[in-house]
């Protein structure tokens, strides 16, 4: 489980990139939180820098669009999904559980409790460096 940032630091419409290997992008899509692999499945672009509309993110390089709920591309040129990761909010802090098979949108208004973070211990072992540093567009700009 990787802490990302305080919930209030990721307002609706914003995204943040975790410097994990591979990097992960976390989105606040109108109040629902999602995390997917940051690198577009097409070529080399960062989805955290993409255009967020509803629960779709458009890649900044060639405009492939991904459904954040499933990671599936909704149009070309991407043909493969990006991995989704589960997100939880524990005591007001957003956490990502790496490599979950499906992302669970978390309504920002109703943060989950610690219980949610217990469901994916196996995935955590493979999560690499524990702390994701914040290099989202907020800090990059």
């Amino acid at each position: 489980m990787i802490p990302v940032c305080r919930l209030e630091d990721l307002p609706a419409g914003e995204s943040v990139r975790l410097d994990t290997t591979p990097p992960v992008a976390v989105f606040n899509a109108d109040g629902a939180l999602y995390a997917v692999d940051d690198t577009c499945s097409h070529q080399d672009a960062s989805l955290s820098e993409g255009w967020l509309e509803g629960c779709l993110v458009e890649c900044p390089l060639h405009a492939a669009s991904f459904d954040l709920r499933t990671g599936e591309p909704t149009c070309l040129p991407a043909r493969r999904p990006v991995r989704t990761h589960r997100v939880s909010v524990v005591d007001g802090t957003i956490h990502v559980h790496l490599a979950d098979p499906t992302a669970t949108p978390v309504p920002a208004s109703a943060p989950l409790t610690a219980a949610a973070s217990l469901s994916a211990p196996a995935a955590l072992a493979a999560s690499g460096p524990g702390r994701g540093s914040l290099t989202g567009e907020g800090s990059a700009a």
């Binding site: 070529q43 820098e49 390089l61 700009a141």
Partner: protein
């Protein structure tokens, strides 16, 4: 419409095939492609493909001729190429469609297996498209009414509609091409260049500072080579970006570690001819280089590699060995300077592949002339991608090649222009760690205003303004603000079209 033939099986051709099926065309779909490969993506060829040395080691050769052997040479000798004649055991039939899908059992997917980063399609999609792929086959002509495509193996595809997607070819220097001299357009080009670049440190001269030249130079620097870029204009990329932003890009070369020489053309190439006129080449390692086998080598003559004013005063060897133009040793500039070179990359633009249409009644002039809906001068013939001059403009951008086919196919199936291409031009380029993105039409007298970041920090958004409006935008490492501006430009364009 029973049969549609797509000539050119690359980016625009593949998108056209997809659109045909997506828009309900369920007839016979034939794709003719001169290269032996299934469609692959070119932009990585000057970028990651060159620098990814792991991949270089793992894919020395690929059986790229697989496509050709399954189709071009395995095909029936019949003059008329029709489904009935194509019962070769190497081809399969897509269940229920009656249309041959030669790639079902697909040794041809080897490209996808060995270079997944480049493959534009996969076996599943190939099956779904239910098309006949004639790869390694050149179209050589179109009959008077555009109802038959002639092939270089003597066959003819009788067709009701034609999509021309033959793209463009890299412009070359005149004369024979000595070993060590490369252009970069195809996978074969990129493999040959990469092979030359993996033989230890080289002195690389890139002729032409356009996008492909700049990207190649950047990749060569990343590989540790000594790189000089030669640009005839006072600055590279002025026509594309205007002087201010061209200046910024020129600095990228210098900051990135390449030398940039501007305002000087190339007079010619110096080369060392083989020590012996034939057989025993200059060095056995170089004997297999494409330059050495270039058919134009047969016309080798003194000064043949010189450009314009024939100032090459090369070596002892120019009159020797007509079949082998030897190996490049230096580039001579028009101001007399001589740049020693082991590898030369010629990036001086591309010319549309319309040669196969000469002698036909189709209107051609720096591209296939089309209306704004990609419809050419013969009925039921459309053109897309780098070869198409659409409404007076010929773009050489990846995105145009992917956006035009939807409109072109719609008009082809409607048998008239019912929609025009309104997409906003867009391209990107990656060089020296900077991602450059550009959208819109840049008026020559536009003024440039930086609205985010700053060139000194290496990340910024620049707006090209003209008559009180934003006409185009350029971003360097500034994707989010660029996307916003691109959307605004698109909306503005839709509102005014």
């Amino acid at each position: 419409m029973n049969t549609v033939t797509v000539v050119g099986a690359s980016l625009a051709g593949l998108y056209a095939a997809r659109e045909l099926r997506a828009q309900g065309f369920d007839g016979r779909l034939v794709l003719v492609g001169a290269e032996p490969h299934l469609p692959y993506d070119r932009p990585p060829l000057s970028k990651a493909f060159l620098t990814d040395t792991d991949r270089a080691a793992s894919t020395p050769t690929v059986t790229d001729s697989a496509g050709a052997s399954a189709t071009g040479t395995g095909a029936s000798p019949d003059r008329e190429h029709s489904p009935a004649t194509r019962t070769s055991p190497t081809t399969g039939t897509a269940p229920g469609t009656g249309i041959h899908a030669p790639y079902e059992s697909a040794p041809e997917s080897q490209l996808a297996l060995t270079d997944p980063e480049l493959a534009l399609t996969d076996p599943e999609e190939i099956t779904d498209l239910a098309a006949e792929w004639l790869l390694g086959v050149h179209a050589t002509g179109l009959d008077q009414h555009g109802r038959a495509v002639l092939l270089d193996d003597g066959r003819t595809v009788v067709t009701d509609g034609v999509v021309i997607a033959t793209g463009a070819s890299a412009r070359r220097l005149p004369g024979p091409q000595p070993a060590g001299v490369h252009t970069l357009r195809t996978l074969a080009d990129a493999r040959a260049l990469r092979a030359d670049l993996t033989r230890g440190p080289r002195r690389v001269v890139v002729i032409g500072g356009g996008f492909i030249g700049a990207e190649t130079a950047s990749s060569c620097v990343a590989l540790g080579h000594d790189v000089t870029v030669v640009e005839a204009a006072p600055l590279p990329l002025i026509p594309q970006l205007g002087p201010d932003m061209a200046m910024f890009c020129a600095d990228l070369h210098r900051q990135g570690g390449a030398r940039l020489l501007t305002g000087t053309g190339v007079a010619g190439l110096h080369r060392m001819a083989p020590a012996y006129p034939s057989g025993d080449a200059y060095s056995s390692g170089d004997a297999a280089q494409p330059g050495g086998t270039d058919p134009s080598g047969a016309t080798d003559r003194p000064g043949a590699t010189a450009l314009g004013s024939s100032r090459t005063r090369s070596s002892r060897t120019e009159s020797r060995g007509p079949a082998n133009p030897g190996h490049v040793t230096a580039v001579e500039l028009s101001d007399g300077r001589i740049l020693p070179a082991d590898v030369v990359v010629v990036g001086i633009g591309a010319t549309p592949n319309t040669g196969w249409l000469s002698g036909t009644s189709l209107a051609v002039g720096d591209g296939v002339l089309c209306d704004a809906g990609c419809v050419a001068s013969l009925p039921q013939v459309v053109a897309v991608g780098d070869v198409a001059r659409v409404g007076g403009v010929r773009a050489e951008h990846w995105t145009s090649a992917t956006e035009q086919p939807r409109v072109a196919v719609r008009n082809l199936l409607a048998a008239q222009t019912v929609e025009t291409v309104t997409a906003l031009p867009y391209f990107w380029s990656d060089q020296y760690g900077s991602r450059i993105q550009f959208a819109g039409h840049r008026p020559a007298d536009a003024t440039v205003r930086i609205t985010e970041g700053s060139p000194d920090d290496g990340g910024f958004l620049a707006l090209y303004e003209h008559a009180g409006r934003v006409a185009a935008a350029l971003a360097v490492n500034c994707p989010r603000p660029f996307m916003r501006t691109r959307r605004e430009l698109r909306a503005q364009r839709t509102a005014t079209v």
